[in-house]
Symmetry: C2
Subunit: 472 residues, 2 copies
């Protein structure tokens, strides 16, 4: 539809149907809400922003959009890293960021039901008072919302032991493309009545419907872990330690790695006491499911595996403050990357692939080859225990050749992920950024299923076009 | 299609396309393969049995079926309890029970890939040699196949700590209605490339495609648990113990209950040393994630909760043989039921509902009312820690009035499940048996999603008609 015509319809038909201040057509405000944190994704052309406060607001917006075949881009906190919340021409932005109520907290059944705009960290805090934990902890834990976490099936550092967002979703309320409100999944611990439609919506990135309430399973308070850190001469030794340790039956609650370049950037950013000569660092936590004895045994096993791979140094701590200090460097890697990028051309392209753990040493070799071939600086942190790697490619945003090489490196990293038996995205999602690559990962049968399901649930194709289905 | 015409097509077209002995049209053999373990489900009219040995056999059968719009009923070990593998008029039975190869076992990545006919217990044994466990343990563990476990999202006794089958499925190969072979899901620990089509097939009961290979996540060998048993004067005291114990943050690896009638039937069947006067028994195991100290502490917490509810007796054991003896009675409940049924009219109708744990005491009250209203004997075991109950209704198969009352009791149990915020099926599935009830649990929006997905993936409606979609 012509943008001017849509604008008139929004003002005459949609805005009066919603309350005061729910619809914004101010161009600056709309533009400011037109994207998430990803680079290289278009974000032009949104006509209006709907800040839904209620389920009814969402339903009215979708009924309007269906009536006039208007594209709708669902948005939460817009902290995503794949352009999954970016505007497309002639679209409505539909934000649920203001829907932040806790609807129900049931410590007996260990569930919480929230609106999608609740921030992950706030939810964690709310349940901790009841002796409960919600484990999923994406890097964006302090700023990302549960609705977005569910829509992208967000991961994090704890996944190696505690799983991903999907493993905690019991039931959802979703508004479908035509405005229908439906409840999917079951509140109970078990339930097999019908298809698992709930899981279909988890990770669907706003392409099948708008999630308006979420019932999550909680677990008893996760125990304080022991923390250990090991440094190595190179990434291969660290990666081999990871695969050998895990193959021996380890169940760490965290197992992260930083490569040589990441350590250098952290050292340049601040004094974290990191070995300037190390080629890799592993950071492990073990909570022993509450048993200090079990946690200690696991950390000792880790130490043996690290030493067998020639670790430069292994140290551990059972003091909570010390442990947090050890983890701080890992958590600040992205900040250190930004610090580096500011003085090196400004560009940082963050990738996200997942490979079988045993392929980690080979992945680092292949990453070195990509560094050589593109001549670019690439740093990599990894949720190593899951084989989930986040290489960051640095480049000058004003040098078209560097930009082209950065994009090539980004693609080659996905190609290596696929060649090693892995996936193009472990936890960040497809969005706009990787839509062209999804078709390379899914076989024709699976692409057909995707297209059929999308056509069945969104026959007009109005839900988040331009993202994962655009090139299928 | 006219059965004779189909029979001719099977002989002339399908049988030559498959190898010798793959297709059987012998009426006795076909009839013997026309049902699972459920009562009250029709099983007439199958024309032929295809015993697939390869993926190609399955593809050829589905291509044939699509070409001629012939209904196909997928079958595994036929140990299901909901009529999900029962024949419909004019159908082909497509069994994958002979596809029993282990295709890959990767101890480093902790995964196993198997064909669907592998028996659950055989898989457990195969991975135990590598220090790994596959936890899901439906009651049928010794006789049910992994394909059927995945197709029904089977549960079991361990779920209260270790989750259900879905939580272990990483990737599937499925043959679609038109014979297309596709791989869905990812082999890696994490993966969000596209929709979670894998979970859509888990629990789809053969209505969306034929599962021909399964990649499962494994976990390190589950530790030996401590076992405790507590008896109570009535079911309410036991049920209240369960909800209070779990609300206090317990993480037992098993938490089962037997009601008064079950205890009486077990005592009539054999000498298990069970208190003949007890009104309920709880059986708990705790593995403390490998820490004996943590397991002991949890069992002691259980003891305190049981005593607070006036337990008649609480006893525990840390000897593996003693523990197994304590669990034996629970495992033999179904055998004791069959023993009772043989001398009481022959009929046993097994139900399966799941409610929030806190509703368990109310559920038992409502069950008493159903006993009174129908005048029938009803015994109930439960995976109490999950709120998943299995009431068994006993009746005379030759007394039409008792049969009618039994079916009424069966329905009323589901109604109570729904009224208490639960589901009509926790783990046995919908199949033919509960197809009429599925529409009562799912709201109109969800039914619409079900119909749309089914129409998109099986446009001819040939996959397991007569089951979960029949009344949606």
């Amino acid at each position: 539809m012509d943008p001017a015509a849509l604008l008139a319809l929004v003002r005459d038909e949609l805005a009066p149907d919603l309350g005061d201040g729910v619809v914004t057509t101010d161009a600056d405000v709309v533009a400011a809400h037109s994207r998430d944190e990803a680079l290289f994704c278009p974000d032009d052309g949104a006509v209006a922003l709907v800040r839904a406060r209620t389920v009814a607001d969402v339903q009215a917006t979708m009924r309007f959009a269906s009536r006039h075949a208007v594209p709708v881009v669902p948005q939460g906190a817009r902290t995503g890293l794949s352009g999954g919340a970016n505007a497309v021409p002639g679209c409505l932005l539909l934000s649920v960021a203001s829907m932040t109520r806790v609807l129900d907290l049931d410590p007996g059944e260990r569930t919480i039901t929230v609106e999608p705009g609740v921030i992950n960290a706030d939810l964690k805090e709310a349940v901790a008072e009841h002796g409960l934990s919600y484990p999923p902890d994406p890097g964006s834990v302090a700023i990302s919302s549960i609705g977005g976490n569910v829509a992208t099936n967000a991961g994090g550092l704890c996944c190696v032991k505690y799983g991903v967002t999907r493993d905690y979703v019991r039931a959802l309320q979703v508004v479908l493309a035509d405005g229908t409100l439906t409840t999917i999944g079951a509140r109970t611990a078990k339930g097999v009545a019908g298809l698992d439609v709930r899981s279909l919506f988890v990770g669907s990135e706003g392409t099948l419907g708008i999630i308006v309430s979420i019932t999550l399973r909680l677990v008893p308070l996760v125990p304080q872990p022991l923390t250990a850190v090991a440094t190595f001469a190179d990434e291969r030794a660290g990666a081999t330690t990871v695969s050998a340790f895990m193959a021996a039956g380890a169940q760490p609650s965290m197992l992260e790695s930083l490569d040589r370049t990441s350590l250098q950037m952290l050292n340049a950013y601040g004094d974290f006491g990191l070995d300037a000569h190390a080629g890799a660092m592993l950071l492990i936590q073990s909570d022993g499911a509450g048993s200090r004895e079990a946690a200690l045994a696991e950390v000792e096993t880790f130490t043996r595996h690290a030493e067998a791979q020639g670790a430069l140094e292994v140290a551990f701590s059972d003091d909570a403050a010390d442990s947090e200090a050890l983890v701080a460097a890992r958590r600040l890697a992205q900040t250190a990357y930004e610090h580096y990028a500011r003085s090196h051309g400004g560009g940082q392209l963050l990738d996200d692939v997942c490979v079988p753990r045993e392929q980690l040493p080979i992945f680092y070799e292949r990453l070195d080859r990509i560094r050589t071939a593109t001549g670019l600086t690439i740093a990599a942190v990894a949720h190593a225990g899951d084989g989930n790697l986040h290489p960051s490619i640095f480049f000058s945003t004003t040098d078209p050749d560097e930009v082209a090489r950065a994009r090539r490196a980004f693609d080659e990293i996905m190609q290596v992920g696929l060649e090693l038996g892995g996936t193009i995205t472990g936890e960040h999602g497809v969005g706009h950024l990787k839509r062209g690559w999804l078709a390379r990962e899914l076989d024709e049968g699976n692409r057909g299923i995707h297209r059929a399901v999308k056509a069945a649930l969104d026959p007009l194709g109005i839900l988040n076009p331009g993202t994962m289905f655009a090139d299928l």
